[in-house]
């Protein structure tokens, strides 16, 4: 049962991560929109990287961020974007009102 759907605005959590992560620091605390679903049976890196190959399988989402929301000094056009795949355990509904 997926928590989010395409079109939802979500914010990336900023959990302390030591040694390994696949949720990049540059997207932590940032808000984007879900543009695609990924399979819901991939083992999350928090398990797989530590040898738990049969670890937790969670839904994954492709999320689009505006470059201007990621980098305070972004000088390109406002329409430029970055897309990242993020697992559900790293996401919460967007804090701010949708624009």
């Amino acid at each position: 049962m997926r928590r989010f759907k395409v079109g939802d605005r979500v914010t990336v959590l900023d959990k302390p991560t030591l040694f390994h992560t696949r949720t990049q620091s540059y997207c932590r605390g940032r808000t984007g929109v879900i543009v695609a679903l990924r399979p819901d049976d991939w083992v999350i890196p928090e398990d797989e990287a530590w040898g738990r190959v049969d670890g937790r399988r969670l839904p994954c989402y492709m999320i689009r961020f505006q470059q201007g929301d990621l980098w305070p000094d972004y000088r390109g056009p406002a329409t430029d974007t970055v897309e990242l795949e993020i697992f559900e355990n790293w996401l919460e509904p967007a804090k701010e009102a949708a624009q």
Partner: protein, 219 residues
Amino acid sequence: MSDDHDHLPDVEDTPNDFEILEIAIRELSIAKGYFSAEDHRRFMEWAESISPAAGARMVARAWVDPEYKKRVLADGTAAAQEIGIDMTAPTGQGTPSDYIYLVVHENTPKVHNVIVCTLCSCYPRWVLGMEPAWYKSFNYRRRMVRWPRQVLAEFGTIIPDDVEVRVHDSNQKTRYMVLPMRPAGTEGWTEEQLAAIVTRDTMIGVAVPRVDSLVGQRP
């Protein structure tokens, strides 16, 4: 070159320490039954068989066949399989580092896509071959996601301001390929002629296909 442990791999100079270590790890692993020499040979064959020609065939086919293009954009893995690109090779379940989930992103007059893996070097090897050195460099990994137009300009690729530059950072199990726009001046071309101008760099997104010259083109 053979990887059978009775035959020394060809080396031109004194082998470096990493090379020695690889031979040691491989021979110990084979001796202890962790994998077989045949396993290693099959992986070597796979690594030497992959190239951007596969991706170019997908793109050329998508350019001439709108229904195939829809299938490419809906399910990249299946569309590749359809023209003989087998993502389950060489193990039967794909490669451990590349997985089996290809998503193709289409360039349009409004959106230019480009691929990076900031965390390591995830790359769609079955359709593009092994990644270039610059793709797995720290430099590209650091900068493409934050200064994409500057990095594209270093490749000679200038994207107009009214076109969105969309950077895909491959940070999980999906692997990406760009479907470039078919350039003007290719009307009536055969698929083979079209595939010849679809270079590796155009499917990463750091270049766009050009009709005017094949001489001196970057891969």
